[in-house]
């Protein structure tokens, strides 16, 4: 029996050896004694070879997994970036409206005016009248936390506990808290100065994006803010995640309780225009149905008062986005930051060089403007041909403007100007006049606007120099030389910024001079990335703590985690592919002149990239997207049909219309929300029509009136002619799993797809 065993083992060894060395096994007869002598060493050698084999196989497996993980990451990032492109499209749309659209009826005027919402930085008294909390009564049945002012540390901890119990703070307290926060923030300078000598260490957290679990995890690991524990929160507290308002409440509460220890920086998402698109507005309206509007209005005026940057020990600069070659800390310190309620508006009217504008949404003032030559809306107006014509025009404008102003003031009553010469305005008409008068001041305000946008929206890149950030549509891409220049100019050691999601929660670049810190773990999907925070002691050496706030993420193996994230990424990718079906078919047909329905891998990859412009490694992604035939060709027709079936669609809507909706869904949603100024979720049928017509004419989409009616018919709307646009938009979302559920399927707001 021993002999047979030996021969079995020997046999196995020879087979292995043949695989490894590629030779034919030697058939040799071995003597019993020789075999037994060799037995020990043979077994050892065999075990060695077997181990090598297994290790080789396993390492290859892990490498493939790593490749998949990176591809998935690339997919998420490129889709996120393309969402930001959508933002630019939307703003082009608004510019287009303003350039070319002369409202023909009062209804259209109203409609347009509602799209261009007002925004102003109010004085205390006005605000208190508008967003007063006294009238908001707290019912006896309310079981949530009660706040009394001035806030005490106990209140803040009580809030944290309450939110852990999933309670909601009543609107009365929210409004009061926001008022107090605003009052406090108004006293703060643009750049906060922090010193490590007061507290042992300073903890800096990056983007939270509405993920309360991550904030709880940070507090759990690092401790709550206290006189011994300083914190800097580097912007982007809201949007995307579902608990943005809770995060704000907690942060503001701690800010009021420990004003010396807690510092907040403004991020690019602390901006109501961005909130419209990325989900914060929606969240507030859902949670505070009656008073949400007041809260949102109040928030506009709190965000604009958030400081722009923090300087630690005069050596480390903490800001949200980055810097540009024009960044000047002295200039930044002098800007009146509260005037920039939203930096995005300025960008839209770049030609006018106005950082802020407000339109009187009061329908009555606008009829005046329509009787103006449409040039009033014309952005090129200020840069009109010759100065002489300008001065003539200016006089005429000034006259009419004065009248208009009087009229407005009488009617509207409380609209006061801020009292500054250069930047206040009540109506667009006034703005035009001021612009004509003081071109110089308008230039400096443009400069200020640029400073702020650069701080909040820029990204570091490895290439030298400073280019415009075309992907985000604002700020710039800054290189190591720009960083070096800024650091030297202000004698700094390094920069800390957030704004970009990083796999490990943090990342150094520019020769360890720029640190990106990102605190929202599982940002794209459960298991997609870790979050991190950084601690700085007096030696200013950064210490990192990483985490991942999801129990399931820990119990999954690497393989399962990657598969899950991958699934999510590919779902998003397939939806994008579906949205461009007709373009893809056109492009495929170019390569497939014989109309066989097949295409080579190379041609497929080239075609898909030329349509989607996502810059992805399509050849690596192919196995997860489309099957290949035995001959190595891809059947694109059946593939696109399968894609269409996957998307939940209404059968009686034509497929081209469906594509249009998918492609522009995020922009449409933003427009709807803007129109729906009372945040009720309903817009009238007429407005719906208007929107579609405007949008399609701008985007050069062919859309017949019948098409629009078909669309409307497929939506359940009340007999009174209102459309619940939430329903409409939900109908065109995929069914997807919400993070944390393994089996259950629910309609949730996708985090990455369209950015909302």
């Amino acid at each position: 029996m021993f002999k047979t065993l030996l021969y079995v083992i020997w046999d196995g060894f020879l087979n292995l050896a043949s695989h490894i060395s590629g030779e034919c096994p030697n058939q040799c007869a071995l003597g019993y004694s020789q075999v037994s002598a060799l037995f020990g060493s043979v077994l050892h050698v065999t075990a060695f070879k077997a181990a090598v084999l297994i290790q080789r196989w396993y390492r290859r497996y892990v490498a493939r997994l790593e490749m998949r993980r990176r591809c998935t990451w690339r997919i998420f990032q490129s889709i996120e970036y393309s969402c930001e492109q959508d933002q630019i499209k939307l703003h082009n749309f608004f510019s287009y409206l303003m350039d070319h659209f002369t409202p023909s009826s009062s209804k259209e005027r109203d409609f347009i005016s509602r799209m261009l919402t007002e925004e102003e930085s109010y004085k205390d008294t006005e605000l208190e009248k508008l967003c007063d909390y006294q009238s908001v009564e707290v019912p006896d049945s309310y079981v949530g936390p009660h706040l009394s002012f001035p806030l005490l540390p106990d209140h803040a901890t009580a809030l944290v506990e309450a939110f852990k119990q999933k309670q909601q703070l009543h609107a009365h307290y929210v409004l009061k808290l926001l008022h107090e926060t605003r009052r406090h923030l108004m006293q703060l300078p643009n750049i906060s100065y922090v010193s490590t000598c007061y507290s042992e260490e300073i903890t800096i957290c990056g983007d939270l994006h509405g993920r309360l679990d991550d904030l709880f995890l940070i507090f759990y690991k690092n401790g709550l803010p206290s006189p011994e524990k300083s914190y800097v929160f580097n912007g982007d507290f809201v949007d995307r995640g579902k608990q943005s308002i809770e995060i704000l409440i907690i942060l503001f509460a701690f800010l009021l309780v420990y004003p010396k220890e807690v510092h907040l920086n403004r991020g690019n998402h602390e901006d109501h225009m961005v909130n419209l698109r990325y989900g914060f507005t929606k969240e507030v309206m859902q949670k505070y149905k009656v008073h949400g509007k007041k809260i949102l209005k109040m928030l506009q005026n709190v965000f604009c008062w958030l400081p722009l940057a923090t300087l630690i020990d005069q050596k480390v600069l903490v800001l949200h986005g980055g810097v540009s070659d024009a960044t000047d800390l002295e200039l930044l310190a002098k800007i009146e930051r509260h005037k920039f309620v939203s930096v995005l508006r300025g960008k839209k009217r770049k030609e006018k060089s106005r950082p802020m504008e407000s339109k009187v949404t009061n329908g009555e003032s606008l009829p005046r403007s329509s009787s103006f030559p449409g040039s009033c809306f014309h952005p090129g107006f200020a840069n009109a041909a010759s100065t002489s014509s300008r001065t003539e025009l200016s006089q005429w404008v000034r006259q009419s403007v004065q009248e208009e102003l009087e009229k407005c003031r009488r009617q509207v009553g409380f609209r006061e100007t801020q009292g500054d010469e250069d930047l206040t305005c009540v109506s667009s008409v006034t703005m035009t006049e001021l612009e004509l008068e003081s071109c110089g001041t308008s230039e400096s305000s443009h400069e200020e606007w640029k400073q702020i946008v650069d701080i909040l929206w820029s990204d570091p890149v490895p290439q030298e120099g400073c280019q415009m950030n075309t992907v985000r549509g604002g700020g710039c891409y800054f290189g190591p030389d720009v960083t070096e220049k800024i650091l030297q100019k202000h004698s700094l050691q390094f920069l800390i910024r957030s704004h970009e999601c990083k796999q490990e929660g943090y990342e150094f670049c520019h020769n360890r001079k720029v640190l990106t810190i990102f605190s929202a773990s599982n940002y794209y999907e459960v298991g997609s990335n870790r979050g991190a925070y950084v601690k700085l002691g007096p030696d200013l050496i950064p210490h990192f703590v990483q985490y991942q706030a999801n129990k399931t993420a820990h119990t999954l193996t690497m393989r399962q985690r990657i598969s899950r994230v991958e699934e999510s990424a590919f779902r998003a990718l397939r939806e994008k592919l579906f949205a461009h079906t007709s373009d893809l078919i056109c492009r495929f047909k170019v390569y497939d002149r014989d109309d066989t329905g097949n295409i080579t891998l190379s041609d497929w990859a080239t075609a898909v990239e030329s349509v989607l412009h996502l810059g992805l490694p399509w050849r690596m992604l192919r196995p997860q997207l489309v099957r290949s035939t035995a001959a190595g060709m891809l059947e694109y027709k059946s593939w696109l049909d399968d894609l269409a079936v996957e998307q939940r669609s209404k059968e009686h809507i034509q497929s081209s219309l469906l594509e249009i909706i998918y492609r522009n869904r995020s922009n449409l949603e933003t427009i709807f929300r803007i129109i729906d100024s009372d945040h009720s979720g309903l817009i009238s049928f007429e407005e719906f029509h208007h929107t579609w017509r405007l949008f399609s004419s701008h985007m050069n989409i062919e859309l017949t009136d019948d098409g629009i009616s078909d669309l409307a018919r497929s939506i359940d709307f009340n007999k009174d002619g209102n459309i619940d646009f939430n329903e409409f938009l939900e109908a065109f979302r995929l069914i997807e799993q919400s993070p944390g559920d393994d089996k259950t399927v629910a309609l949730t707001t996708p985090h990455c797809r369209d950015g909302s």
Binding site: Y58, V62, M67, M620
Partner: protein, 191 residues
Amino acid sequence: MRYCLYDLVPFEQRKKVKRKDKSFHLSFPKKERDPQTKRSDIQKKITDAFEVFDHECNKTVDVREIGTIIRSLGCCPSEGELHDMLAEVSSLPFVIFSSILKFTKALIFSLLCRRPEYRPIPEDVLLRAFEVLDVNKCGHLTKEELVKYMTEEGEPFTQEEMEEMLSAAVDPETNTVRYKDYITMMVVDEN
């Protein structure tokens, strides 16, 4: 009636496409792609794989990641072989892949097509390897045995690699590695 080449084409494969000049265009079944296009396909695939790891978008990859890239393309070199490969390529911490690509493309190409030992290891061979390690022939390895072999024999695993393998391979109830099931699971996952 004139006979022409067209008549030699089997009926079901005939395809007539009307052109403006009303002539018929003959369509023959597509030929198998010639080796030239096949090679360029593989080259493009290799370039794609490198690009995924090109973080700074400047056509360089970290030399420590070349192993991962090569393996993800389907080759199974051992650590020793990889080390030899890289020693030839570059002594710098990063590698400009466009310049070494000429070298590696040829290398990878030969890896992918010719030398059988670099091909992916078939399931049955893998099974045999586990069986060799399973001295008692009981159909499973204990956790300790696996750790011992993987960290002491062959080209030893790092701590991290070992932990990762164990997390998926070990059956938590019996605390053993049922290698047959493990292999099946991993192979399915690959495809």
